[in-house]
């Protein structure tokens, strides 16, 4: 399993696609730095500028989380199926390596890459926001951890799909589910605002089915200044605005996320075990 994890990590680092995605993320961070700088110079009083900077940071991180999701999906979706199609997997699985060892080795290698990439690039984005606008979110580490967890969830989903579908199909499906989960989160918030129980239930169910939006909400909460959260509570619109998070996600949600990742990774193992070469 360790050998497969090492091979996977080396392969991903040598891929041109990884380099391209990394350059795209870095370009985005540089662009957001310029946007923060422009924002600070547009508003006079420092307090007002910081408030706008905090709102801009949430928006920037929303786009950033989307880019991480794309990265995690495309890397994981091409981890297994090309090896099954080309015959690389046959030569590996003829060795004393179990199917679960192969899948979990892939998962470990990808997880190391995706977690490091999410945390490092996320930290860089937060540093850029601090340097250019002077804004520090209330809990940057928790926000980065939630973003990294979101990328891990999508990576696990992409890996599972990659055991049965071609790379491109698995990547598209994975990204589509990510956006559907986000839209369902928006729908759920609208349900709260409009007192529509059907929308609320649909939002809650999709939140559990693909927990990426819940993890984004968690990251969002740790990025917002406490004053924004306090205003939401004062106005009594908790959960009704899809673009702000009024409360942290409960511990049970994180436990569910861990179970979800374990379950989907287990499904990937099961899927490969049932496969005949």
């Amino acid at each position: 399993m360790r050998a497969i994890a090492g091979l996977t990590l080396r392969e991903m680092l040598r891929r041109r696609a990884t380099l391209t995605l990394a350059i795209a993320v870095l370009a985005f961070i540089a662009l957001s730095g310029w946007a923060f700088h422009a924002l600070v110079h547009s508003y006079g009083p420092a307090g007002e500028a910081r408030l706008y900077a905090s709102e801009q940071l949430v928006f920037v991180m929303l786009v950033f989380s989307g880019m991480l999701a794309l990265t995690a999906s495309f890397l994981s979706a091409s981890a297994i199926s090309p090896e099954l199609e080309s015959g690389v997997a046959i030569s590996l699985l003829a060795r004393p390596l179990t199917r679960s060892g192969y899948v979990l080795g892939k998962w470990l290698g990808l997880a190391a890459l995706v977690a490091c990439f999410s945390l490092l690039s996320g930290a860089l984005e937060l540093l850029v926001a601090f340097w250019s606008a002077g804004f520090v979110p209330p809990d940057p580490l928790a926000a980065l951890a939630a973003l990294g967890a979101q990328a891990l969830v999508l990576m696990t989903l992409g890996l599972w799909l990659s055991t049965r579908l071609s790379s491109i199909t698995a990547a598209i499906l994975s990204v589509a589910l990510f956006f559907l989960a986000w839209m369902a989160g928006v729908g759920g918030a609208l349900g709260v605002a409009l007192h529509n129980s059907t929308l609320q239930v649909a939002g809650a169910v999709s939140q559990l089915a693909v927990p990426t939006n819940g993890l984004w909400q968690a990251a969002e909460y740790y990025l917002e200044p406490p004053s924004v959260v306090a205003i939401l509570h004062l106005k009594g619109i908790v959960g009704a605005d899809p673009f702000v998070a009024a409360s942290p996600e409960p511990t049970a949600f994180y436990i569910w996320c861990a179970l979800w990742v374990a379950g989907v990774a287990g499904a990937a193992v099961w899927s490969l075990r049932r496969r005949d070469f």
């Binding site: 080309s86 030569s91 699985l93 003829a94 004393p96 390596l97 005949d276």
Partner: protein, 309 residues
Amino acid sequence: MPGTIGAARRAEPAILTEQLSKEYGGKAALSDLTMTVPRGQVFGFLGPNGAGKTTAVKLLLGLARPTAGEGLVLGEPLGDVAVRRRVGYLPELFRYQDWLTAEEVLLAHGALAARPSAARRGEAQAVLEVVGLAGRARDRVGTFSKGMQQRLGLAVALLGAPELVVLDEPTSALDPTGRHDVREIIHDLKSRGVTVFLNSHLLGEVEQVCDHVAILRAGRVVAQGSLDVLLSSTGVRIEADGVTSGTLQGLERFGEIFLRGTELQVDGIRRQDIPALVAELVARGAQVYAVESRRPSLEEHFLGLMGGR
């Protein structure tokens, strides 16, 4: 009692299958494969395309699960993971990571085969030497020709001193020199007591290196045994003077007789009956100049079994 266990191990066949069958989507790819591959032998597994040869190999290596039947590989049940440490395999259709160098491929396989880390680099160099790729160890697999990739596949199969080497069409991409090299490698493996399971449809090649063969047709074994028995004499050609139709009377018991001038052909005669036939001809006044036992080629035997295909 390590000596007893060692002896028992040597005595048990390298591969044993009992009514092994595999269906894909309700269609039989392999039916009731029952065969024994003795240890230390070169075993040819023959059959036309689509006969089920590769399916059988995949069942033996746990890459596919049998629909019915069972088997043992080096004394362990099919699908056993640990036994694969003792097995080398060259798949028919394979590729190695084209972004790795030849040496890196072998190091990765050494790690997967749980070879001691200190020995991996030396073993990689040694097998690259054997397959003639020592000078290309640091080149990326993506730059290799098909033949070189097949040589690398062979190197991977030889890695870690396996007790059983399974070669699935090992020379399909090789030039005549490459094929000669593979034959030499197989002879060398045999001399070291390694069992070789050679899956091929190149009959001339199989005839040159194999001791035992099994012939598969439409998923079933239609013949198996040692090459000597399978290709045992089925005819004799005798050059003799003084042979008339009267001389031949009563000799039909030896086989079907054809006389063309001074050449006498007897088909279907058993090898052990040839001296008696010659003695009888001489006793009846014939002057015998030459006796040639006719052994059919593997190709003739194979085509006969395939119904002239």
